[in-house]
């Protein structure tokens, strides 16, 4: 894990400080003289040799102090902390509902595998997956926001409960709608792998009720790959669905990243990327630990 963190720091440094070009040119704007540019370079520290810049960057990562945003002069740590809230307000319900629904549907579809219901649901999923997320957002925002007027078209407020019950439902619904199809397909294959195993036949042969075969025997074994998959998607929760945040004007982390990329605001992008990489590694570690509780056969060495 430590070598990977070092690698991530090196990669980000290489990208932004070496490939990224001279930030002073961007910041100084169109009308600038060499003196101003030299001044800005000094302020940003890009006139130092590369090894010193790298040390400064490493120090920034470990002290959680990335300085200030180049475009708004807001402290980067403050930007991150204030933007995480709205993102999580959207993404945590999305994660819970999507996982719950897809596990439920997957086990039902896997139970009637090969039937007309199963095949038609799979076809619907394939077609639904091939339509761009963009088209769904554009269409449903227009449909529910403009035409039917069930939800506000976009917006955000100060109060958490108002956000959750007024502004969040439409984005959450959209993300769930789009997220269920691929996960349903995936989880169905996990369940199918287990359903054909010998232990399932044994359980049936000794007269275990069908409900308990599916929910206890099959479910527990299929939970291992499902847990891995949820673990993989967890870091994404913090970035949020940036498309949703852009469309619905949600002041979250995803929209912040898009703005930062548009303005070449390197400190913000660097900070988000490094911390999410570290977070990803921590979550992977956590998932490994959780295996032990789901699957007693797993042991740590």
């Amino acid at each position: 894990m430590v070598p990977t963190i070092v690698g991530v720091i090196l990669l980000i440094f290489f990208l932004f400080n070496w490939v990224g070009g001279d930030p002073a040119m961007v910041l100084a704007g169109k009308i600038s003289n060499p003196e101003q540019i030299a001044n800005i370079r000094k302020q940003l520290g890009v006139d130092l040799p590369y090894w010193q810049q790298l040390l400064i960057f490493a120090k920034q990562v470990f002290t959680f102090d990335f300085g200030r945003s180049w475009s708004t002069n807001e402290e980067v740590s403050r930007i991150l902390l204030t933007r995480v809230g709205p993102t999580l307000t959207i993404m945590i319900p999305v994660l819970i509902i999507t996982t719950g629904l897809s596990v439920l549907f997957a086990i039902m579809v896997a139970y009637v595998r090969g039937s007309l219901t199963d095949r038609s649901i799979m076809v619907v999923c394939t077609v639904a997956m091939s339509i761009s997320f963009l088209v769904y957002i554009i269409f449903f925002q227009w449909m529910f926001g403009f035409i039917l007027g069930w939800f506000p078209v976009q917006g955000w407020s100060e109060s958490f409960w108002k956000n959750l019950f007024t502004y969040a439902p439409l984005p959450i619904m959209l993300a769930v709608f789009v997220g269920v199809a691929p996960e349903l397909r995936l989880y169905r294959s996990f369940f199918l792998d287990e359903i054909n195993q010998d232990y399932v036949r044994t359980a049936r042969a000794k007269g275990v009720p069908e409900k308990s075969v599916m929910l206890k025997h099959v479910m527990r074994n299929a939970m291992i790959p499902i847990l891995t998959n949820v673990g993989i998607s967890l870091p994404g929760v913090f970035v949020g669905s940036f498309l949703l945040e852009v469309f619905f004007s949600i002041p979250g982390l995803g929209r912040e990243i898009i703005t930062a990329v548009n303005r070449s605001d390197f400190p913000v992008i660097k900070a988000v990327t490094v911390y999410l990489a570290i977070l990803t590694m921590l979550i992977n570690l956590l998932v490994d630990v959780m295996y032990k509780y789901v699957d007693p056969r797993v042991s740590f060495k």
């Binding site: 990977t4 980000i12 490939v19 898009i258």
Partner: protein
Amino acid sequence: MSAVLSNPPAIPPQESPGLWALAWRRLRQDAVGMASLVVVIFFLLMMAASYTGLIAKDWSKEKGVSYANPSFMAGAENLEAKAMAQKEAAKAPPVDLSDIDPLAPRYKEWEERAAKIAVTEVKRSETLAFGGDKWGRDVLQKVIKGSEVSIFVGLSGAILAVIIGTMLGAAAGYWGGWVNDFLEWFYNIFTSIPYILLILSFAAVAASSGKFGKGIVPIVLILSLTGWTGIYRLMRAEYIKHSNREYVKAAQAIGASNFSRMFVHILPNVSHVSLVQLSQHTVQFIKAEVILSFLGFGVPVDMVSWGTMLAEAQNELVIGKWWQLFAAGASMAVLVTAFSLLTDSLRDALDPKLK
């Protein structure tokens, strides 16, 4: 006993079909696979035709009125075009200032000069085959041109990603040891950063430095430089499996060099894996291109792709002009569905054990 062995039946010399011939035979049995292959080939032909200028050459010409109706709903009211026409008509005649205007004596001269330059007034039509966009461009031609750009970006990005992934995977799997350790470290770095953040970081750097080239080159590079990881992992596993096989040892015994063993002997035997990956990544990159172009990090503004069309479509839908959204969304959905089904069929055909 000996009588049985002494007289073996004469078997006519028969060439056994190779991997690709067998796979093709299996693919032909698969109706869904063949149908999706036809659709994919149709799109590729359309892309080639539009690239060479056979069709949709003048997609950027403004042929119709603003938001021209599709010809199958010619009667529908077009408020936007009317508003534009009214604005044109309502222009008040210029106030006569010739007594105080110092340039007045030269008006006549200029008018004569202007008359010499031929201006062809294009008659803007009320309807277009599949409607028009804000500037009166034909949506049908636009979507053909957009398909060309989107498919080209997806395909070339995928080819580049497969090349990078195969090279690195071959090196790691074949050499093992410190090469493998180093490349695994590299792989871990790339996969520990969430994919979308990795893409956006590359996009930010590409936009500010301009070192990635111009036009659609940056987006192709961004997609392939961030998307090689899955292919690398699969190819590495294949190379580890194959490098100890007898045919590779035999090649070594007759003096084949390392390079030749890696790419002449092993590569053809694992290339079916990369073909499936190519197809899968094309779909993935087409989807990514659409989103990136929508956000403005994809193809440049003077080009059209499905992503830029959808970006325009968002505002059009509010005023009831649905055709651009439908055209771009539907053509993308058809291609992506066909490509994903083809990927599944290819996998089944190339690796029948998997099923």
